[in-house]
Amino acid sequence: MHYLEELKQKIKDRLPELDVVIGWEQGFDPLRATPLFMKTPEDVDRLIAGPLCVHNLATHLTGLKGRKVGIIVKGCDSRTVVELLQEKLIDRGDVVVFGIPCSGVVSVRKIGRELGTLDYVESVDLSGDTVKVTSEGMEHSFALADVAADKCGRCQYRSPLLSDVMVGEIPDESATDDYSDVAEFEKLSLEERRGHWLNAMDRCVRCYACRNACPMCVCRDHCVAQSRDPHWMTQEDTVQNKLLFQIIHTMHLAGRCTECGECERSCPMSIPLLLLRRKMNKEINDLFDYRAGTCVDDIPPLQSFKIEEENITERGW
């Protein structure tokens, strides 16, 4: 990444005034990056940036509230920061946002599907729009677009919406998002849709990774999934319980979810959770012409109202 050295220098410049700067470093294998918490210039030297840096680091911001934090964001991650600011969950004065341009991140799951196993990744070579992965002595070459996360194919924010320090060139290509995936799914009959979710949720192991990875899930120890007062969910391993939890997550994220996809990415059972979030967002967009995390001064639609709602028709009986 041609801007990496510049980014490192800019972080080093700001480090003295910050408690920590969050970025990414090489993970346990060449394909996987992992969050990096930089406190010293030596830490900064381990920084990487590019298509392997999939984590939305803004997930860590609320946990670090009250400290001076620097954070590196891609376009989509910047929406999370905007949304957190909108909801006053973080203080603008405490956060220094380092923005980087982005041309897509890889979906490790998609690569895994192509390779059959991700247990023996020996090396990864990223050049231009190509991702070369060597595993078990075999080299596999993919176009980045083919193995990118789904959200990248419809990305409208390749450049951060908010940043204090920006490096790299602002990419100009911007895709559109017409929620065609939701429309496609809704062509199925009600029975088929029901069957789809029952099947999918039956796999859920209630690990709550989806919740823990979600940057907007901020109730932490007070999550209704585990609370006994109110006792919304039982500890039983029933499909009703698991489905209810996903609906709770989706409802609690209504008008707040920025579709970063961390919920779905972190799910060990490959449950297509983002479809539920996107359906919700589509309806929020249709009703209130609103997209979460795009404007710091907006109020999330379910935290406000209009006396006359333009798009809600009164029900006659």
Binding site: V182, F185, E186, L190, E191, E192, R193, R194, G195, H196, W197, L198, N199, D202, W232, T238, V239, Q240, L243, L244, I247, I248, T250, M251, A254, G255, L275, L276, K279, M280, E283, I284, D286, L287, F288, P301, L302, F305, K306, I307, E309, I312, E314, R315, W317
Partner: protein, 153 residues
């Protein structure tokens, strides 16, 4: 609906100040009403978490009806405005889960509208009877769904 039709399970969340009063007015006026609805009285339609509705539907209700004060008439000034947004969003969200959105309705009935309450409850009950008992969402349904999915492959 004929008098001897089997009752279905319909849950009604009614706000204390208007719709519960409206249902009471209908009762005092001795209006003939279907008896499928189980009423749960809540302080305000703004108190109705959409998850009350979802939990009812997931755990076997055949229909859910929410009723509050008319917009501009809320006892707490604006509870029903928030409710309107949440409930509308919920109604539009249900189809993706494979839950028929017609099984959930929300409306506004004031304390003096006994006649309107009777109409609302009769029509909604009639709709639910037309739809029949709701498909279950339990492990048995899950096993069936898996079997259907396997056949499809």
């Amino acid at each position: 609906m004929s008098a001897d039709a089997t009752e279905l399970r319909i849950v009604g969340f009614l706000c204390n100040w208007c719709s519960y009063g409206g249902a009471d007015t209908a009762g005092v006026g001795r209006f003939q009403q279907p008896t499928d609805l189980r009423i749960i009285r809540v302080p305000c339609s703004g108190r109705i978490d959409p998850l009350f509705v979802v939990k009812s539907l997931i755990e076997g209700a055949d229909g859910v009806l929410v009723s509050g004060c008319h917009p501009r008439d809320c006892h707490y000034s604006e509870g029903n405005y928030y409710a309107r947004r949440r409930l509308e969003v919920l109604k539009r969200f249900l189809p993706i889960l494979g839950i028929d959105p017609r099984r959930f309705e929300y409306t506004w009935v004031s304390a003096s509208e006994g006649q309107k309450w009777k109409t609302v409850v009769s029509k909604f009950t009639e709709h639910i009877h037309e739809l029949g008992p709701a498909p279950r969402l339990d492990s048995e349904a899950c096993a069936q769904a898996a079997a259907i999915a396997l056949q499809g492959l």
